[in-house]
Symmetry: C2
Subunit: 116 residues, 2 copies
Amino acid sequence: MIGLIILGHGSNLPDYRKVVEMHRERLEKLGIFEEVRTAYVIEEPKLTDVLRDMRSKKVLVVPLFIAYGEHLREIEKALSEFGDKVVICDPIGESELVTYAILISALRRINVLSFE
Amino acid sequence: MIGLIILGHGSNLPDYRKVVEMHRERLEKLGIFEEVRTAYVIEEPKLTDVLRDMRSKKVLVVPLFIAYGEHLREIEKALSEFGDKVVICDPIGESELVTYAILISALRRINVLSFE
């Protein structure tokens, strides 16, 4: 009974939330997690509200952030009421998959990676 | 003779640039691109300065952004002096590799993906 929250920074770009929601839908479809939700640092819904609303006994929070900074440290402090229910995971920024995402964006643009 | 620029937003987090630079080093090691550089929207070095400094005939710019917004539209407008030399690629945000980066960050944290 493990839940997942994708934690985005939030943005005034209209597409930002659409992209975060798209990742949520993809991860939900995998069927690995009981619940998959989104929360935002500078927008609603906030992490604490989402956590209160989730029935999973354990919730993994993955920050859609490049680096770990004040935002995340403050958020961690505010989660004491949830005890062991919530686990903050590493931000995705250092992932090799992000390196490959950069590579593939570049190669696709020059049709090196067009399989059509 | 193709060059690559990773375009970050910039941040007051000290780790932010380290992470962007780490991706740059990984991509440089692949040996696919003649030059691999970094540029930032709200910090130095700026994209136009980096472009002027590069010898590659074609430079691919990959935004390390979740979504395409005003920042990127303004940057595109400012690149007219470079003509065909520069190509702005899709931001990495929608990449399935970012979805997998979220998944793996979560699974690693609960040791599902520990191979040790």
